[in-house]
């Protein structure tokens, strides 16, 4: 077993408290276990479907684990994983769409807690929906948030299926426009 310098300088590990800020993972297995959920959530929030989110999560860990620096601290590891995720997502969109549909922001707070990384999506979506007219908001809620089929959504709203389809696409256009305005 290779011992890091950090450990050599410490008092005997059996006694005494260990500083949490300098915490490192014992091995790759721990890195994976502790971070796989938030990496997946992050990716899912950026692509919106399970098969791609799984592939991208796998790519992040396949890419990141081997070159991971010995004795990197927990926050350093998380930041590194996030940066890897950022690159992996960028190349995914480049390949699929020839442009970036969604991105992972580079500037993250120094202390990253896995729970808080996941996403601010629900809040963002709520405020986005609130800016839409009632029937537009309703169709998007039914289709995207509540997993209704077009037919079910149409009957819920008391409109024809064709009408529901048109509503949905107009609503999405308006949501996209309003999203653009909100960010610019």
């Amino acid at each position: 077993m290779i011992r890091s310098e950090r450990e050599e300088r410490r008092p005997q590990p059996v006694a005494g408290l260990q500083p949490v800020t300098g915490a490192v993972y014992p091995d790759w297995d721990a890195v994976y276990r502790d971070n796989v959920t938030w990496v997946y959530r992050l990716m899912y929030g950026k692509v919106g479907n399970q098969p791609d989110a799984e592939d991208l999560t796998a790519e992040v860990f396949m890419t990141a684990l081997k070159p991971l620096r010995v004795s990197a601290t927990v926050p350093e590891v998380r930041k590194y994983l996030r940066m890897t995720a950022r690159t992996v997502l960028a190349s995914y969109w480049g390949d699929r769409m020839g442009r970036q549909i969604t991105t992972i922001e580079e500037d993250v707070p120094e202390v990253i807690e896995p729970e808080s990384i996941a996403s601010d999506a629900p809040d963002k979506v709520r405020s986005l929906l609130q800016r839409l007219p009632d029937n537009y908001r309703r169709i998007l809620e039914l289709r995207f948030l509540q997993a209704f089929s077009v037919r079910e959504a149409a009957s819920q709203m008391g409109v024809s299926v064709a009408n529901a389809k048109v509503l949905q696409y107009r609503a999405l256009r308006m949501a996209a426009q309003s999203g653009e305005e909100a960010t610019s």
């Binding site: 899912y44 479907n49 098969p51 799984e54 769409m97 948030l145």
Partner: protein
């Protein structure tokens, strides 16, 4: 009104399919982004599948062992059960912020092979503290106690007493006693433990470790638990 690129993308998205190739313009891309955000906000849809987490772990284990010829392959390719069980130990120690100070990439076969055994709490300094009267704890019953420094549940089964911690091993929420079901339940993530402290059900990617046990005894009709001494 509605263009084909966005429509195809949204239909696939709502069916949970992979994203197909397309070449959207600015506004189409903006609509796709809005669609993704909406879809991803659906409740409960963003947790990774347990099968995926386990399978990726296995692939990573194989990948990581490629550069580690010194380690015998069989030890690096544990069966599924060992992976799942061994992993929870590592996750627990990481979550607790323990610093082991080992080489990050060094193989730690021992961790993978060791199942998370139930540990007994041995405080540096402790005393026997009364938690209830023997008569209050019939055969098959359970009793909650809170001694300030620790809390937990003591139960009597087959005329033997057993006491376990009342704090969930996942993120430290306080367990409650579901007496009719003989379960200790966590209010945070629906994890449940048996009265003996073993993990019974959970919805997490990795099973939380079992609850630590307390030393418990019965003297002159009083049940006592060995608990850490309160700070002066």
């Amino acid at each position: 009104m509605s263009n084909r690129t966005v429509r195809r993308f949204v239909e696939g998205l709502l069916r949970g399919q992979r994203t197909e190739q397309a070449r959207p313009d600015d506004f189409e891309a903006e609509q796709m982004k809005a669609a993704i955000e909406l879809r991803a906000a659906r409740l409960g849809s963003d947790a990774p599948r347990e099968e995926f987490v386990t399978d990726l772990h296995r692939r990573l284990a194989a990948e990581m062992s490629d550069g580690q010829p010194a380690v015998s392959h069989s030890r690096w390719a544990p069966r599924r059960r060992e992976v799942v069980i061994g992993g929870s130990v590592a996750a627990a120690s990481a979550a607790a912020g323990l610093v082991v100070g080992r080489n990050l990439l060094a193989p730690t076969v021992t961790q993978q092979a060791t199942p998370p055994t139930q540990t007994e709490l041995h405080p540096n300094a402790g005393t026997w503290r009364p938690v209830g009267a023997s008569v209050d704890l019939p055969e098959g019953g359970a009793l909650a106690f809170d001694l300030g420094s620790v809390n937990g549940f003591v139960h009597r089964a087959h005329a033997k007493l057993e006491a376990v911690s009342g704090v969930c091993t996942h993120q430290g929420c306080k367990l409650w006693l579901d007496a009719p079901e003989s379960r200790l339940r966590c209010p945070c993530h629906s994890t449940s433990f048996s009265l003996e402290g073993t993990t019974v059900t959970h919805q997490l990617p990795v099973a939380p470790p079992p609850l630590p046990k307390f030393q418990v005894r019965e003297i002159n009709g009083v049940i006592e638990v060995f608990a850490p001494t309160e700070p002066a």
